[in-house]
Symmetry: C2
Subunit: 476 residues, 2 copies
């Protein structure tokens, strides 16, 4: 395709996107397609001849859009926010249009250096000291894996350069809480530690934050048994309830054993833009790595996940390669992000952050985050003051975990019958198409998470959601 | 940013991109910026207030573009092609505009099912049987890491569910050739095997393909010493010379030990679109995994790397998570790509392939690949018939490895002096700004790789490159 054909088609597509974004509020939030429906509508023989651009646009409208859950919808309260701010979409378009190849600094100096600029901007905006150095990864899952590999290699004195984990004299152990995101156990397993060497530490039953005394006991028990604490993953803003682990206490406990501390703030990192929320990361300057996702609440379109580390030199020792075909005359003077993570080739993702921050400005982003925090407190207050409703966890951020406990035959519903009731009213809310909430098991029982923070969600949308919830707990 | 502001800015940006793409041939191929130059031009305090869109466009033009090596340039012959076909850029824009979130099938059914459709199209187009199942990863580096993790867990009977690699009774060993891409040793080290358990098998000195007899001997030696062969990585189209390992022989050798065979065809996968090239993958149906990058020669914009596996069930056992907050009613009936790789959240990358294949059509893509193969043969013939020039490796694909060996005082240059000559004329070609080639060490000596296959490169551009090379070997 030549530039002039691209120009014509891209203008059409831009109009299609602007129209689509304008009509998102009118679409059902949760996709209503059945498994296989999209595939059946599109699966044909591979196209041998060029097809008309309008045919693709029609398929986008008729098949793809109905096949998507609309996470940009003002009624989207599921999982966590996944904002694709239009300013960041422009940055993504610029990246695609430039067609750059990020393998070494030489292949795309600007790709490297804009990434240095924007990760430094976000370091400053979130109040981190200049001891931290950031890079953009696809997701926090990848970030925590990189952190676990760095931790493994620090604890083992770079075992990868010898016999690997296979030759280690005593098992290395990793600690996190039962409320950690599933990506942490996955990373620990993929890094080769083994499930037997992963300790899911209990949490405080009221706050869902890691019980640091239990962590200390677990580490002491392991040491007594000849095992070696290698890493602790602290969660700031857990996926279930946005619980906040005590990072300072965890850092202190880990330091006694020389264990790496990774802070998973995938969701809560955005809140660090607000000075009044920074208490959540107290102690982080004693940690070794910190991951958070601008592609969640802050709204730089997926995939924009930041991993900050303090000891870049160690990370590079673990991750670097230096084949002859990638060498250049400036290698000693420049950042080579290929040596900070898993992939060699990297997209120009920094442009998404660069456009987002420059076109929206930090002040407006902070105002939106504060709006969402206030909306969450509003919902919490409604539920706390309405008979039959329970807010099952503290609300330090923008997620409110609700349970409705009806009184049947004079007794509050409990056990599996309560779970059935919860999942039923959750589904009734979602079936309206006006809102989408997702359930999670909290403290052994199903709960409905209301995760506020879609860019489009105003107080009126939270009010509507609350009406839908109250209507849904009464079976039709 | 609201849809109408986006519409206006995006139209401007589309014109900027179309204009940029049209003027790429007039830009220097290799960026001429010095380390830190881009950063110094852009680093400011984080933006508090919104900035004008035109300011960003000006920075794109004045700072970012000069800070990029132009891999879409007709004179780009460095590393490997990294085509960002404009049809695929449209798909990338559609993906960004939709703002979808791929975490589970439910979060974006179309994101999952279009990926099933396009990976199946490419399976058919490359002649693989329907025993293979594909997914899109960011890069081949990630793909080979996933393959090594799957291999580790198969060889160890899912050790991750117990003590991990730390509790394995005898070391697991991985084999590849000395010509393997640097991502393979990196993946082996990250997966915890350790460098002591990585065998870099010698290659045939003429073809640079793995010496399969040496592989057999290495595996037998390891078994005799109580170690266990876990995986072999075969390279089809090595990075140095596009050498082709004998996959069928490797599969046969590996099978005797139950070792996983991963085929790294990152570059050569595109050639599998041409039936006349499929001999390069003879035997692949006996392998366990196969990775290749449409974002290289085929030209679907980065990041579009395919990993095909035969035993999806095993891969899912190694990679899956199942937290309560991600469950849905349809979980048993649908593909959950989160369980096929490392990240949980995924972009709608399938649209890049979908747009590229539908708008360009397979026939035109094949014609372009054949053009590049013919151009490589043309260059090989020129160099072979020109005194003083040497083609240092066979040319099965689109890369020609050149050495110029001047006669000085009656004797051909050799050793380090020859290396100096090679690197000097390579730099002289690149300093013209009209072409960019990268050197590599082949058979212990520096060589200049001419990797043909930028979408814009016609025979006339290869002719110009050849003129530049011949001029460059004569010092000014």
């Amino acid at each position: 395709m030549q530039p002039e054909e691209f120009r014509a088609a891209a203008h059409e597509l831009v109009d299609w996107i602007a129209d689509f974004r304008a009509r998102v509020p009118d679409l059902p939030v949760r996709s209503t397609v059945a498994p296989g429906q999209v595939r059946d509508a599109l699966a044909t023989a591979p196209p041998e001849q060029p097809q008309a651009f309008d045919d693709l646009l029609r398929d986008l409208s008729d098949v793809v859009v109905p096949g998507l859950t609309q996470v940009q919808h003002p009624g989207y309260f599921a999982w966590f926010p996944s904002n694709a701010s239009l300013a960041s979409v422009l940055g993504d378009l610029a990246s695609s249009g430039l067609g750059a190849l990020g393998i070494t600094w030489q292949s795309a100096p600007a790709l490297t250096e804009v990434e240095e600029v924007v990760t430094d901007w976000l370091r400053e905006l979130t109040g981190l000291s200049d001891a931290w150095h950031g890079a953009i990864h696809d997701t926090a899952s990848t970030g925590v894996l990189v952190a676990m590999l760095a931790a493994r290699e620090r604890a083992s004195g770079l075992s990868e350069t010898r016999g690997g984990l296979q030759a280690e004299p005593a098992p290395l152990v990793v600690y996190t809480s039962t409320q950690a995101h599933s990506s942490t156990p996955k990373a620990v397993l993929l890094a080769g530690f083994g499930r037997d060497n992963l300790r899911m530490i209990d949490v405080d039953p009221a706050t869902f934050a890691m019980d640091v005394d239990a962590l200390r006991r677990a580490m002491a028990d392991d040491v007594a048994a000849g095992r070696r604490p290698a890493a602790v993953v602290a969660s700031v803003g857990t996926t279930g309830t946005t619980a906040v682990d005590d990072v300072a206490a965890i850092v202190e406990a880990a330091r006694e054993h020389g264990a790496w501390v990774h802070v998973d703030a995938a969701m809560a990192g955005s809140a660090m833009l607000l000075p009044e929320c920074r208490w959540m990361l107290d102690g982080v300057e004693g940690a070794d790595s910190l991951g958070w996702n601008p592609h969640k609440w802050m709204g730089t379109i997926l995939d924009t996940s930041l991993l900050y580390v303090r000891d870049v030199e160690h990370l590079v020792r673990v991750m670097s390669t230096n084949p002859s075909y990638l060498r250049s005359a400036v290698d000693g003077e420049v950042t080579q992000y290929k040596d900070w993570g898993i992939p060699l080739g990297r997209r120009f993702r920094a442009l998404k952050l660069w456009f987002h921050l420059r076109l929206d400005g930090a002040e407006a982003i902070r105002a939106r985050l504060r709006r969402d925090l206030a909306n969450a407190q509003w919902l919490r207050e409604q539920a706390e003051s309405e008979p039959g409703w329970q807010v099952v966890a503290p609300v330090p951020l923008q997620t409110v975990c609700l349970r409705h406990i009806p009184v049947v035959d004079g007794a509050p519903l409990e056990g599996e019958v309560l779970d059935e009731h919860t999942l039923a009213w959750c589904e009734r809310v979602n079936a309206t198409g006006r809102a989408f909430v997702t359930p999670a098991v909290i403290g052994g029982r199903w709960t409905v998470r209301v995760s506020i923070g879609a860019e489009a969600t105003e107080l009126a949308d939270v009010e509507e959601l609350w009406s839908l919830c109250r209507a849904a707990v009464v079976p039709a």
